[in-house]
């Protein structure tokens, strides 16, 4: 059975634009999206900006209320965040694009992790917290000495490791990574992608990995769903979707990405 299921999800937003009167229809950001993530599986969600990827992620973790459709965990429908059991809340944790704004800059790493444990006391380690904290940091490839640093003293890559540690602190089963490596330099990006793959193995984590970068998703996803204007236009095994895209939109994304790929450019005679 799937760990996560998203069934025919619809999310719309009231138009705030003053030019539209209150009568005008709401803006439909997600228009009937269905997805499934199995335990241990990494599913990539790709699409250009504005296609609705973040909105799907926020609906999964309960930050926006769907107009219709359902988000199910272990087959059990989840309500909005306030009506989820703590176990349900812990199960799906989100990692955001910009760790500098998702971490409080003046909090130390120790305080950030302690806060996660305070929010979900049942996930807090019994006994020695310091040892548990150091194990957690080690798990994400951070030195124990980082614990006493404030977030604003860390590099972008270190911040993203702390965000991942904060998510792992409550022992989730699913990570929802929203453009989690998009703001990182390419050498650091490779480290974080590698870390995510390793964590999946070590903790049997499933992931919904959202990115606008087809190349990045290709590196880590078992399956891919391609979104366009609130709709999943194509979904399948990564090798199938990228090897032989069936939808014209997927093909256009792939063509553009290939046009920019290093190996093609090395052979710059083609044009």
């Amino acid at each position: 059975m799937s760990l996560l299921e998203v069934n025919d999800l619809r999310v719309s937003f009231a138009r705030r634009n003053a030019w539209f009167r209150s009568r005008s229809a709401d803006f439909v950001a997600v228009d009937g999206v269905s997805l499934a993530v199995a335990p241990d599986e990494i599913v990539g969600l790709v699409g250009e900006s504005g296609s609705g990827k973040t909105t799907v992620a926020r609906a999964i973790v309960g930050l926006v209320r769907p107009g219709s459709g359902a988000v199910l965990l272990d087959g059990v429908p989840l309500g909005p965040v306030g009506r989820r059991t703590t176990a349900q809340q812990r199960a799906a944790q989100m990692v955001f694009q910009d760790p500098r704004s998702s971490l409080s800059p003046r909090m130390t790493v120790t305080a950030i992790i302690n806060e996660a444990w305070r929010t979900h006391p049942e996930s807090a380690p019994p006994g020695d917290r310091t040892a548990a904290l150091h194990r957690l940091l080690d798990d994400v490839g951070l030195d124990a000495s980082v614990a006493r640093h404030r977030a604003d003293e860390l590099s972008g890559g270190q911040c993203q490791r702390v965000s991942i540690a904060r998510a792992l602190a409550v022992r989730p089963r699913l990570l929802v990574c929203d453009e989690a490596v998009s703001a990182l330099d390419v050498s650091v990006q490779a480290q974080i992608l590698r870390l995510l793959v390793d964590l999946r193995e070590r903790h049997h984590l499933a992931m919904l990995f959202i990115s606008h970068d087809l190349g990045v998703v290709h590196q880590i996803a078992d399956r891919i769903a391609v979104m366009r204007r609130g709709v999943v236009v194509e979904e399948g095994r990564t090798t199938d979707v990228l090897g032989a895209p069936r939808h014209e939109y997927t093909r256009s994304l792939l063509d553009a990405a290939l046009e920019l790929s290093t190996t093609d450019a090395q052979d710059r005679s083609g044009n």
Binding site: E48, A265, D267, S269
Partner: protein, 344 residues
């Protein structure tokens, strides 16, 4: 996919891209930029050397903070207040670092133009696109009807549909891709010989990005423009540039013809960059990630700045800073073991 074809055989590269023939348009020789910081200054560009031959695109690649923007800003003469420069910067033989402010202002837009990652910040929100693109022409005293025709031509060249209607639009009415096209039209208005493009497609979706790069490449070819393309994304630079300059912590790690450098890097950092590019056809970016984070000019390790992350570092690297030196025809690298790397 053959890697042996030379760029000269292809439609994409009419230029021999050989810096050794003909006089370069721009010579950057030992360029230094010191920026003031609390309690002193930091050398953010350190002895950077490269040439831009006429009608050639040079790509400036490196991770954030490596000094790419400051190098481009030094060329166009727009450094932050209090910045100190050193070394040599020659524009068609003319000494730019010692030129008068008036002369540098005149160069800007007329001979050297620049486009940025965020066109919205560079465009005036209160003026129509047409007015802004025509500004430099009006200031040159061109008659109104002339200016209008030329603006239409420029907008069309930049791929803006319905230019006659669009010239009356304001920047906020344009999508990101159209804004970048407007910025390109504006940059071309002064008929520059060199276009500096600093992360011109970084904020754009990949399909738009591909179209803008195609546009830049065709303009470069049609008009015999020289271009300095600054990007943190190797894919972008590899796609467009004849030659590439790889920067690390304010210094040049390696430079040479793009094809040769990417196929057979002479610097371990270049090799790591190439290997960590997330490609849609190969799944190898995670195989050997570099440890650590990019060094910054303010925090440059002694010896070779790359040594804490370098898989090939030896004792020598911790103390002796390698100078860029010729390692193959048309190629320079700043690594003690560049020749060995090339031999592999």
């Amino acid at each position: 996919m053959s890697r042996t074809r030379t760029p000269a055989e292809g439609a994409a590269s009419p230029v021999p891209a050989d810096a050794t023939t003909g006089d370069p348009l721009l010579e950057v020789d030992g360029l230094v930029v010191d920026l003031p910081v609390a309690g002193g200054s930091v050398r953010v560009v350190d002895r950077v050397t490269f040439d831009i031959p006429p009608a050639t695109t040079v790509g400036l690649i490196g991770e954030s903070g490596s000094g790419k923007t400051m190098t481009a800003n030094a060329v166009i003469g727009l450094l932050p207040n209090g910045a100190e420069t050193g070394g040599e910067l020659h524009w068609q033989g003319e000494d730019l670092l010692r030129a008068s402010p008036a002369r540098r202002r005149r160069l800007r837009g007329h001979e050297i133009a620049m486009i940025f990652q965020d066109p919205l910040a560079a465009l005036n929100p209160t003026q129509t696109i047409g007015r802004q693109v025509g500004e430099i022409l009006r200031r040159a005293g061109r008659p109104r009807a002339d200016v209008r025709l030329r603006v239409l031509e420029l907008l069309e060249r930049a791929g803006i549909p319905e230019p006659a209607a669009r010239m009356r639009s304001y920047p906020h009415e344009f999508s990101g891709g159209l804004r970048q096209r407007a910025m390109i039209a504006l940059a071309l208005a002064g008929s520059p010989a060199l276009l500096l493009a600093d992360e011109p497609t970084t904020a754009l979706d990949v399909t738009v990005q591909a179209r803008i790069l195609r546009l830049l490449r065709s303009i470069q070819q049609d008009q015999g423009l020289a271009m300095l393309l600054v990007s943190h994304d190797l894919r972008v630079v590899a796609h467009v540039a004849h030659q590439v300059v790889v920067m690390y912590a304010g210094r040049v790690a390696e430079r040479g013809p793009t094809t040769a450098v990417l196929a057979r890097p002479a610097h371990p950092y270049t090799r790591a960059l190439v290997e960590s590019v997330p490609a849609v056809r190969t799944r190898t970016a995670l195989a050997h990630p570099l440890p650590g984070t990019p060094a910054t000019p303010a925090n440059r390790p002694p010896g070779c700045a790359f040594h804490p992350r370098c898989p090939l570092a030896q004792d020598q690297c911790r103390t002796e800073e390698p100078e860029p030196r010729p390692v193959a025809p048309g190629r320079w690298a700043a690594c003690h073991f560049a020749e060995e790397l090339l031999q592999r």
